[in-house]
């Protein structure tokens, strides 16, 4: 009875906070009309979506890709080439980029997922360089190092130039979050988590591990590709180093790890903290390499001290507090089993 009403309150608070957050996110461009703050807003929401997309693969299956910028770049180039060379409608091409990158990822995934653990990391790293050299070398299509210039969006004042892209990335974020949440509740998600635990055991238990991994990989890559597509239209220019950069991939990992790879909102929270933080550092100390050092130290510190990330760590700390104060015996054990049994989507 008592616990029932408590749960009702909990649910109310949960949905209320979510609603409030959504309202804040929707109102952001008008709460902070300064174009630079809007610019940072677009970057932040973009990385929130990218980190969550990356985590769709890594959080669920444990396969860490260091090369997601390859998918980001392929999505960007697909969109750019379609708009410049074939005069296609931009936002339709952004969506098409998701499909194209998904198909691309089927081929890549079919090969790359034959490897595991560190060799998977290395294959994905090599993929970035292969795509970089391809974009540089295939001049007829990509423009080589001169890159491609896209037409600027017509009929929009310069103060508002960032707004449509802010919402495009926000939609992407919502879709990725929803997909992650949905997978976390599905049988498919359970299968992925089994792979993360012990792949051979999962296969022995009858999980079609190859197919499951491939689906997660393709979804993760496809959403990242859409992000690249929006990005290229937003910047209205693309060239190889722009997108096929190790840094973009490392950023996604860093954000997801910081927030927590095993929670739904973890990667997004990581991006929400890191992007404005990095922009601030670059703004204040841009002429030194301090921000690079801090990025490295932060990544190291997370790996050493907080490998679970902020949200799961807070969650278990809260659970310990709870059990200590109320004496509810099941709380702590429940949390531990949560970590093992449940996927990302919570």
């Amino acid at each position: 009875m008592l616990s029932g009403s408590k749960e009702a309150i909990g649910r109310f608070v949960k949905w209320g906070t979510l609603l409030l957050l959504v309202c804040l996110a929707l109102a952001y461009p008008w709460l902070f009309p300064n174009p630079y703050l809007r610019f940072v807003g677009v970057m932040t929401v973009m990385y929130m979506g990218l980190a969550t997309s990356w985590n769709l693969m890594a959080g669920n299956t444990g396969y860490v890709s260091l090369g997601h910028s390859a998918f980001f770049g392929v999505g960007a180039y697909f969109t750019g080439i379609m708009i410049v060379r074939f005069d296609m409608p931009p936002f339709a091409m952004v969506a098409a980029a998701g499909v194209f990158v998904g198909l691309f990822a089927i081929v890549i995934g079919w090969l790359a997922l034959r490897t595991r653990d560190a060799s998977f990391v290395i294959v994905t790293l090599a993929l970035v360089y292969i795509m970089l050299l391809l974009a540089q070398g295939w001049r007829g299509l990509t423009g080589g190092s001169s890159g491609l210039s896209l037409p600027r969006m017509e009929g929009i004042g310069r103060e508002d130039a960032h707004v449509p892209f802010y919402f495009a990335f926000l939609i992407l974020l919502a879709v990725v979050l929803f997909t992650t949440w949905w997978i976390g509740r599905s049988k498919f998600g359970m299968g992925l988590v089994a792979i993360r635990g012990d792949e051979d055991k999962a296969a022995a238990l009858g999980v079609n591990t190859d197919l499951y991994k491939l689906i997660a990989f393709v979804l993760s890559a496809g959403f990242t590709g859409i992000g690249g597509g929006i990005y290229v239209y937003w910047f209205s220019y693309i060239e190889p180093f722009f997108v096929f950069s190790i840094t973009i991939g490392v950023n996604m990992i860093l954000m997801a790890l910081l927030g927590g790879t095993r929670s739904l909102f973890g990667p997004a929270l990581g991006a929400l903290l890191l992007v404005p933080g990095t922009q601030y550092l670059i703004g204040e100390y841009g002429s030194t390499q301090l921000h690079v050092v801090l990025t490295g130290l932060l990544l190291g510190a997370i790996v050493m001290v907080l490998p679970m990330g902020i949200i799961p760590s807070l969650r278990s700390a809260a659970a310990h507090l709870w059990s200590a104060s109320s004496g509810a015996s099941s709380a702590a054990t429940c949390t531990e089993s949560d970590e093992v049994a449940e996927g990302v989507g919570r």
Binding site: L66, I122, P307
Partner: protein, 293 residues
């Protein structure tokens, strides 16, 4: 395409490959003893290049002499990294160690940039652009020096692994850590020494890098991808395999540069890397690790 050009390309390739073999020996050794892919290996090469450059241009110390400081220092740093950082990782060790060494690489890169800016540097010694020729084939002095230095270091490492007690314990640890510890080998100590030795070779390798190539803080990314391709091709954990693969890749790179194009020469490393991992993860040169890593 003259046969003379092809021969010249092969010679240059062998010289480059010799240097690659020293770089990859350290990386593959570290992988062998710890199953850790040291993404920061090339960053340590660049760090050593910077230290030698600084000692030479600012303090006037001959680059070869500075090795007496950098080699022991890198050894100690290696042991410390293993003891204080890598040994403390608990879950998902292979994955987390990749991220940890990535973090190390980024930190080194940023620190070098803060200290010595992002400008290109190079260790310019008086004899570095001379050359001698044999039957019309040129042998650039800096590359020959690099090759000889690499060969000597590699030989020393090889002898250490083959004929010392530590070497035997090390090789036992590489082949089977569990069995080694049952035999009374302190595998954690051995792993520390292994990491230290790997970085000590990077100290020498970095000096050679500085003598031959221009460098700036972010150059390590291009190099790490190359030497990873080499150790994968050579069979992870196999020092001899890495040396053979390095010579082979040096020659292939050089020959592709003169026959196809520079873009393909860069691409070939990544294609070899991805192709080997996907289709023949144990490499081609008898790496004894019977497991994927």
């Amino acid at each position: 395409m003259s046969s003379h050009l092809l021969l010249q390309a092969v010679v240059l390739g062998v010289l480059t490959g010799g240097v690659y073999s020293l770089w990859s020996a350290g990386l593959t050794l570290i992988f062998g003893v710890m199953r850790v892919v040291n993404i920061a290996h090339a960053a340590f090469l660049v760090l050593s290049a910077y230290l030698s450059w600084f000692a030479y241009t600012e303090l006037g110390i001959d680059p070869l002499l500075s090795l007496f400081a950098t080699v022991p220092a890198f050894f100690v740093v290696g042991v410390l990294i293993q003891r204080l950082l890598l040994a403390r990782l608990r879950d998902h060790v292979t994955m987390m160690s990749v991220l940890l060494t990535t973090a190390l690489a980024i930190t080194i890169e940023g620190s070098l940039g803060m200290l010595w800016t992002g400008s290109h540097r190079g260790i310019e010694i008086s004899y570095s652009t001379s050359s001698f020729s044999l039957a019309g084939i040129s042998f650039p002095s800096d590359q020959v020096i690099g090759f000889v230095l690499a060969a000597l270091t590699f030989f020393a490492l090889f002898m250490l692994l083959r004929h010392s007690r530590y070497g035997k314990a090390l090789r036992a640890t590489i082949q089977n850590p569990d069995a080694a510890s049952l035999l009374g080998i302190k595998t954690t100590t051995i792993q520390g020494i292994g990491f230290g030795l790997g970085l000590a070779t990077a100290a020498v390798g970095g000096l050679i890098l500085g003598l031959i190539h221009p460098f700036f803080p972010a150059t390590h990314w291009a190099w790490i991808a190359r030497i990873m391709a080499i150790i994968v091709l050579g069979g992870l954990g196999s020092v001899t395999g890495a040396a053979l693969a390095a010579l082979l890749m040096g020659v292939i790179e050089s020959v592709v540069l003169v026959t196809l194009s520079p873009v393909w020469a860069g691409m070939i490393f990544y294609l070899v890397l991805a192709g080997t991992l996907v289709f023949r993860p144990h490499g081609f040169f008898g790496g004894r690790l019977a497991e994927r890593f």
